[in-house]
């Protein structure tokens, strides 16, 4: 639904280097340690400091969902049925102190992410790398991981447990950034990580509350065609109220004219204003990140074990109310598929339970009757008590009111935000019917569908994302098969088909895909928003 057309008029003016870019955020840029980041495609601010083996293509729209080489010469050479991946480093790569980057440093960086002191990274390393399941990190276990080989300082080889065609996508993660062992200060590394990218950390106050980046003199644009790095300084401020952030960006006075935000959507106040204000409208960038908010069923709990009940709810849902609660049609698009509506994920439009925008209460009632509830049904919907996430009370009450028309009485059960995700993602405490959401680690169907619908990923002791506890051997087999494909386009097609197949089972009710509307300061140029991250790419922004 989005295209480069919707982008900033400021792109017309030619970008020039120099100046200070201010980033106004709500959340601090905390855990600024490559081992601890969990970002999609290497992140936004982190990718200014941490170069990785591969990276996302810094282009607008669909083109931005491609993976491209970064430190490596290519996106990786698979062998042995995609279980062994080999990379070679480019020439002339240097750290901020001028020393050369070696593959041993990349290996060390990945090993660090296993240390229990440095939590937070994605789970794929432990899952994919051979013999890594119980590895405790280089501090306790200095021998390191045997499944990562560095035959020479420019070559690195990864041995995987199973075929993984998406490995080049994983190689965009910050864990693939080189960390010189000699400079490793353990948990203190976040205060001043050694930069391999265009900027280095000048100051990092209070765990990312205020982060200042300045040019890294040893970075060379020659080895890095992706990052443009126009501004001289990047000043990241956080802890701001969303209303204040948008207010400051709209006002664009002083340093705010050269400011952007990476985590704050337009609020309703600004949305109402931009319809009448051309200047402001021209400063709004729209982005799509692969994300789906949905209603989850635990099929082990009555009455959700009954497919008819689930279907009735799917028919009854009023997506208009839900979309309004999520900020209106500008900030959310009604969803009927579990996969995000992007080709990279393998999006295949379908709607197994067509009910229109406002739901089909008649059809829902009929199904309920068939299911044995002619007089309606009372269910409990579990949600978080915080509206900060899309699984909060606003969405829950919208669902509640929508289902009322179909004779379904919804009781709400709020769980404190601090414990919500643990509650819904543990088999012991998982409720029957609740709000959930899933986002993409990279634009591919695999990390989107597998954790949710792969029967072998039902985790009894720990985080379980297969909430429906769905275990279909045929589906499991198909997941394995597609995971082994290294042809992304072919894989995408099969993911789309699989999504449609699973969707018919009404294991979830997709609600909406969020849309990112971000305001930028009036001096900001060259706004590039890829569909990988959905937000403007800081490495492309210019303020002059």
């Amino acid at each position: 639904a989005c295209g480069p057309k919707s982008q900033n008029a400021a792109t017309d003016a030619a970008p020039h280097p120099g100046g200070t870019l201010t980033v106004l955020n709500q959340d601090p840029q905390d855990k600024f340690d490559p081992a601890r980041e969990y970002t999609s495609g290497g992140g936004n601010v982190p990718s200014l400091v941490f170069r990785t083996l591969t990276t996302r293509n810094r282009a607008a729209g669909q083109a931005g969902t491609k993976v491209v080489p970064d430190l490596a010469t290519d996106t990786g050479t698979p062998s042995h049925n995609a279980t062994v991946w080999t990379y070679h480093l480019k020439d002339g790569l240097k750290y901020e102190d001028g020393t050369a980057i070696t593959t041993a440093d990349i290996k060390y960086g990945i090993e660090r992410s296993f240390a229990p002191e440095l939590t937070g990274g994605p789970p794929y390393f432990r899952d994919w790398l051979a013999g890594a399941a119980d590895y405790q990190g280089p501090y306790k276990d200095p021998k390191g991981l045997a499944s990562i080989e560095t035959p020479d300082p420019k070559t690195i080889v990864f041995h995987l447990r199973k075929p993984e065609g998406d490995f080049p996508y994983l190689a965009t993660a910050t864990q693939f950034a080189p960390v010189p062992k000699a400079k490793d200060t353990g948990v203190k590394y976040a205060e001043h990580p050694v930069s391999s990218g265009p900027y280095e950390v000048v100051s990092n106050e209070n765990d990312g509350q205020h982060l200042v980046l300045e040019r890294n003199p040893h970075w060379s644009a020659r080895t890095d065609p992706q990052r443009k790095a126009y501004p001289d300084t990047i000043d990241v401020r956080s802890g701001l109220d969303p209303a204040v952030i948008n207010q400051r960006l709209a006002g664009s006075t002083g340093p705010d004219a050269a400011a952007v935000t990476t985590d704050t959507n337009l609020g309703p106040s600004e949305l109402a204003r931009i319809s009448g204000d051309k200047e402001l409208a021209a400063r709004v960038g729209t982005g799509h990140f692969g994300y789906t908010d949905y209603l989850a069923f635990n099929t082990k709990v009555k009455p959700f074990d009954n497919p008819k009940v689930r279907q009735a709810i799917a028919y009854a849902i009023n997506r208009t109310s839900v979309v309004n609660a999520a900020g209106g049609s500008s900030l959310a698009e009604p969803a009927t598929t579990f996969l995000p509506d992007q080709a990279a994920f393998g999006y295949t439009p379908y709607d197994p339970f067509p009910a229109g925008a406002a739901g089909d209460p008649a059809k829902a009632k009929e199904l309920l009757k068939q299911a044995g509830y002619p007089d309606g049904l009372t269910v409990t919907l579990t949600h978080s008590d915080s509206n900060a996430a899309a699984y909060g009370p606003d969405i829950a009450t919208a669902v509640q009111d929508g289902l009322k028309a179909a004779g379904i009485t919804v009781k709400l059960s709020a769980v404190p935000e601090s414990g919500y995700r643990q509650t819904i993602h543990a088999l012991k405490t998982e409720p029957g019917f609740f709000l959930a959401g899933w986002g993409a680690d990279w634009p591919s169907g695999g990390p989107f569908l597998a954790p949710i619908f792969d029967g072998r990923q039902i985790v009894a002791d720990g985080s379980n994302f297969n909430s429906a506890q769905f275990d279909d051997p045929a589906v499991n087999q198909e997941i394995d098969a597609v995971n082994g494909l290294t042809d992304h386009a072919a894989a995408a097609k099969r993911w789309g088909a699989l999504d449609q197949r699973i969707g018919a089972q009404a294991l979830t009710v997709p609600l909406f895909h969020p849309v990112y509307k971000r305001l930028v300061g009036k001096d900001v140029r060259n706004v590039v928003i890829s569909d990988w991250t959905g937000v403007l790419d800081i490495s492309q922004v210019a303020v002059k």
Binding site: D30, K31, Y38, A115, P116, E117, T119, G120, G121, P122, P123, R126, D127, A133, D134, Q136, G137, P138, Y139, K140, P142, G186, V187, A190, E205, N206, D207, Q209, H210, R237, S238, G239, L240, D241, A243, V244, Q247, R248, G251, T253, G254, D256, V415, P416, E417, S418, G419, R421, Q422, T423, H425, V459, D461, G462, S463
Partner: protein, 330 residues
């Protein structure tokens, strides 16, 4: 006197101890696993287990609490080997989330909250005592009624409304003030001042009502006292009576209350810090509660509790000193 101070200190220590026990207890009852929380949702059981051991969460609650108490005086070391984290005394533990020393986290944010609280106090004293004084000088007239209603208005509005309105008015529409931000005093006093002005005023508008009332009532009480009658009988003017004699008497309760409020402000400026995006103790507190970062929460409760209790002691001593000078009869 030293005996009194000593007993007071022991009392404070006991209060703080109980406080830490209460917070520990509440958090152990709270649902949610801090280790899972710190590790992230995508952490597997193995990692969570490792982390639990690393953080000492696998020990019984009482043992954990004991370690905490000992660490407070001797410092502690978490984990072992190359990645061992040392936490110097006074060790309030290390954050589950960031592995930073809680003491360092708190001391890093303390200046923000201290700037906020102290500045707000100055403003509320000026506003409150000024308004109280004026309403006494103009008592019975329109000015008094106007001032009284205005101060009442102050108490009746939550800070997040007043702050927001001020923000809109002065930063967005009129653009007279920069959007609030914190710049350390040592770095740039001028920016420090302008950046905090709005938060100070918002807090002070709410607090000053109390002070205006207190000042007014204490002054009226004094004005009704016999010694004022004496000076009236000797032809001393009204303005002089109010500013020289009555104001003086209202200062002790005002300063004592200020001490108390200043103390509480350290733990309770959450809403203001959130609204204005000031990286102070309040925000740290809310953030840590949300992610079950127990050591940070306990540390914060102890530190803010310390300020409250200390402020209480200061207020008491102020009263005692004032009393000893004034009330004690030979």
């Amino acid at each position: 006197m030293t005996g009194y101070v000593l007993r007071r200190l022991v009392g404070m220590a006991v209060v703080l101890l109980v406080l830490s026990v209460v917070v520990y207890a509440v958090f152990y009852l709270a649902p949610g696993d801090p280790a899972q929380m710190a590790c992230g949702m995508r952490c597997g059981p193995v990692q969570v287990h490792q982390l639990r051991a690393q953080l000492g969460l696998d020990e019984p609650v009482l043992t954990q609490y004991g370690h905490f108490l000992i660490g407070l005086f001797t410092g502690r070391t978490f984990g072992s080997g190359a990645a061992a984290l040392h936490c110097d005394a006074p060790c309030l533990g290390i954050s589950y989330r960031t592995n930073e020393q809680v003491w360092a986290m708190i001391t890093a944010r303390l200046p923000v909250t201290a700037s906020l609280a102290l500045g707000a106090m100055v403003v509320w004293l000026l506003l409150g005592v000024g308004t109280g004084l004026l309403s006494v000088l103009r008592r019975g007239r329109f000015t008094e009624r106007l001032l009284t209603s205005l101060t009442l208005a102050g108490t009746a509005v939550p800070v997040f409304i007043i702050g927001l309105l001020l923000l809109l008015l002065f930063c967005a529409y009129l653009q007279w003030l920069p959007f609030p931000s914190y710049v350390p005093l040592t770095q740039d006093p001028q920016q420090w001042f302008w950046g905090l002005l709005l938060p100070w005023v918002s807090l002070a508008l709410i607090e000053s009502a109390k002070y205006a009332r207190l000042t007014r009532s204490a002054m009226l009480e004094t004005l009704a006292e016999d010694h004022i009658r004496t000076f009236r009988a000797y032809g001393i003017g009204e303005r002089h009576l109010v500013t020289r004699h009555a104001l003086r008497a209202s200062l002790t309760p005002v300063i004592a209350l200020s001490a108390m409020d200043l103390g509480t402000m350290f733990g309770s400026a959450v809403l203001t810090e959130s609204l204005f995006g000031l990286p102070g103790l309040g925000r740290l507190m809310v953030g840590s509660v949300n992610v079950l970062d127990l050591p940070v929460v306990v540390g914060l409760v102890l530190v803010t509790g310390f300020f409250v209790v200390a402020a209480g002691a200061v207020a008491d001593i102020l009263y005692a000193v004032a009393d000893r000078r004034v009330v004690a009869r030979p």
